[in-house]
């Protein structure tokens, strides 16, 4: 019988009925301390420290603080130091504050080459779906499951249903992976893929860079999906061939791995439990107007009226969202003024994202009413950007150039919005209070965020020359 990529990866990792072996477990400071503590109390060890990798990202200041001991916020400092201590005690490799490999967990996995096609990958963070860009089965888990994987290297799971989202046509000029996924979530809703592992396919997906595919898979969870995946192809293999990544095979080992990885693609005729078609050719740059990522509209559109929603639940949610966002129905998106711009997060903080934003910014100045920041996804991304002079481009334009971390995506560190501030953000969630209590988040692509910083308001990147 024809198999999906999900079937193939699942079958290759099922140790016993409903028990899945985990190839890579990424750990960070916020969702792991209670797991290590329980492990300690039960007298258990970490079963495969060599399959486990830790980093400090959620909490860390982005002001260049060189060591955990120097983090000013006491609770953050304790949490990062606890991670360091736990990793030392249990033998887990850790890239903490000050390491030249430190960065957002979903940026450093691929960067190190430990994220590979065909793997099962988990992390105590919902955006673990990012790693599926390589043709891996990658899911976010909670702290109890983190403990479970640390102790057993396995996870009790029910197999997700399969869903294929096929993109017809090519994405137009100025339309990025971020716009494709936002438009998709707008189409299917924030619970559209609940219970499903999503395989993204079609020419518009094949045309994406690895970074674009990571952006796409990253936001699968915002549509409710348990995992997002893209079939490994030459673009994927080039990620490993073009740079020697410390955690990846090389030489003949890499050639053999690639031969194996070619077999991961869903078979012709494989049947998916659900299919969705998105017309990539009609997608325009997207801007969210509400308080979840499905509340989104093209940049040429306007804020919808709650009455335009048929379902009373949606109508009520829209009313609440507009009240929170301080928006009136019918307000055009273009021309909506912003106070802050955030370029960063596991969705859009990789070198390609920064290059795209820098190209928009180069030779221009951030508008007087705007405070803008760039937070690279990892120390390595930061170093690469600096070697290309991108930091200077941003600084010259008036952007604040920060050091790596999750930063204002979730505002656990000092980078937060003040109440009422409106932000163009390349992150993944526009939930109430996500970027700071009372803060108003509009999710956009890096190019759109950069243009908003310069113009002081949302503009259509396609008109930007």
């Amino acid at each position: 019988m024809a198999k999906t990529m999900l079937d193939k990866i699942w079958e290759a990792h099922e140790v016993a009925q409903g028990l899945l072996y985990i190839d890579l477990h990424v750990v960070h400071e916020v969702t792991s301390p209670q797991a290590f503590e329980s492990l300690r109390l039960a007298g258990r060890r970490v079963r495969r420290p060599d399959r486990t990798l830790a980093t400090a990202d959620h909490n860390v200041p982005t002001d260049g603080t060189p060591r955990a001991a120097q983090i000013k916020d006491e609770l953050s400092r304790v949490q990062v130091q606890t991670l360091e201590r736990n990793c030392a005690e249990f033998g887990v490799p850790v890239y903490s504050v000050g390491s030249d490999r430190q960065g957002i967990c979903h940026v450093i996995g691929p960067e190190l080459g430990v994220t590979q096609p065909g793997m099962t990958i988990v992390c105590g963070d919902s955006h673990t779906s990012t790693h599926g860009a390589f043709g891996a089965l990658a899911s976010g888990i909670g702290t109890s499951e983190v403990e479970h994987v640390l102790a057993t290297q396995c996870l009790a799971q029910t197999k997700p249903h399969s869903m294929r989202i096929r993109y017809d046509g090519a994405a137009g000029f100025g339309v990025s992976a971020k716009d494709l996924i936002l438009a998709t979530i707008g189409q299917m809703g924030v619970a559209g893929a609940v219970g499903h592992a999503v395989e993204y396919s079609g020419p518009a997906i094949e045309a994406l860079s690895m970074e674009g595919r990571m952006t796409l898979c990253n936001m699968t969870i915002e549509g409710g999906g348990r995992a997002g995946m893209v079939t490994p192809d030459d673009t994927t293999f080039e990620w490993f061939e073009s740079v020697q990544r410390p955690g990846a095979p090389s030489g003949t080992e890499l050639e053999e791995a690639i031969a194996r990885w070619r077999g991961l693609a869903s078979d012709d005729g494989a049947v998916f439990d659900r299919e969705l078609v998105v017309d990539a050719g009609t997608v325009s740059p997207q801007v969210t107007w509400g308080t979840n990522p499905g509340m989104v509209v093209g940049v040429n559109g306007s804020v919808p009226a709650p009455e335009s929603f048929e379902n009373p639940v949606d109508r009520e949610a829209a009313e609440r969202a507009l009240h929170y966002m301080g928006l009136e129905p019918g307000t055009p998106i273009q021309g909506l003024k912003v106070d802050r711009v955030f370029i960063g997060s596991c969705t859009n903080s990789r070198i390609g994202d920064l290059r795209a934003a820098a190209a928009v910014v180069k030779g221009r100045r951030v508008a007087g009413n705007v405070s803008a920041m760039v937070v690279p996804g990892s120390h390595q991304v930061s170093a690469q950007a600096e070697s290309e002079g991108l930091d200077e481009v941003f600084r010259a334009a008036g952007f604040d150039w920060r050091t790596a971390g999750c930063s204002m995506c979730l505002g656990m560190n000092p980078d937060i919005l003040a109440p009422g501030e409106r932000c163009a953000s390349t992150s993944n969630r526009n939930f109430e209070g996500r970027q700071g209590r009372g803060g108003r988040t509009h999710l956009v692509s890096p190019e759109m965020a950069a243009a908003a910083a310069i113009a002081g308001e949302f503009v259509d990147i396609r008109d930007w020359s």
Binding site: Q34, S126, E145, V190, V313, L410
Partner: protein
């Protein structure tokens, strides 16, 4: 984890759709390295809204896609610490659903109309063994994965269960 058989008593209602875990427990409370004491911060921002009322009852009814968003297990910890034993909603975020079952907070999926009726009844009983919710003289059946039900009924330790497969894990 304590075994679950029946959860009975008052019902608190939060009739909002797509309640994300950032609302259930905002990020400023994720810096603690303990598992307990999150209840007082439950719905921290919303609880400041005029007219907000969410008494600590055994049962919480909610709108569709409850617990979407972040994987923070702090969300079920906060709900459980506050006093809830079961959440009844038309659908849940997948990660939240799993996280809840790990700590013995029972997520129950019922049709929207049944959730509303249970909320209106104000009192109900959830029988995990029979897979039934009873209120207002009615009985409504619900679905749950048999393996999950078995674990919850027995209050079983997942890790100990997995380690019973030691030979298979080691062989892999």
């Amino acid at each position: 984890m304590e075994p679950i058989r029946k959860i009975a008593g008052g019902v608190s209602d939060l009739d909002r759709a797509d309640v994300d875990t950032d609302q259930i427990i905002p990020k400023q409370f994720l810096k603690r390295i303990e598992r307990s004491g999150f209840g007082e911060f439950l719905f921290f921002d919303w609880a400041k809204e005029p007219g907000w009322s969410l008494p600590a009852n055994p049962i919480l009814t909610a709108g569709r896609n409850f617990g979407c968003g972040s994987s923070r297990e702090h969300a079920p910890w906060a709900l459980e610490d506050y006093g809830f034993r079961a959440i009844v909603a038309p659908s849940f975020g997948d990660i939240f659903y799993m996280n809840s079952t790990k700590i013995g907070l029972l997520p129950v999926v019922l049709a929207e109309a049944d959730v509303r009726a249970l909320a209106a009844a104000g009192v109900g009983e959830i029988d995990l063994e029979a897979q039934e919710v009873r209120f207002d003289g009615r009985t409504v059946a619900f679905e749950i994965d048999p393996e999950l039900r078995h674990r919850l009924l027995g209050g079983l330790d997942d890790i100990a269960l997995a380690l019973q497969q030691e030979a298979a894990i080691a062989a892999y």
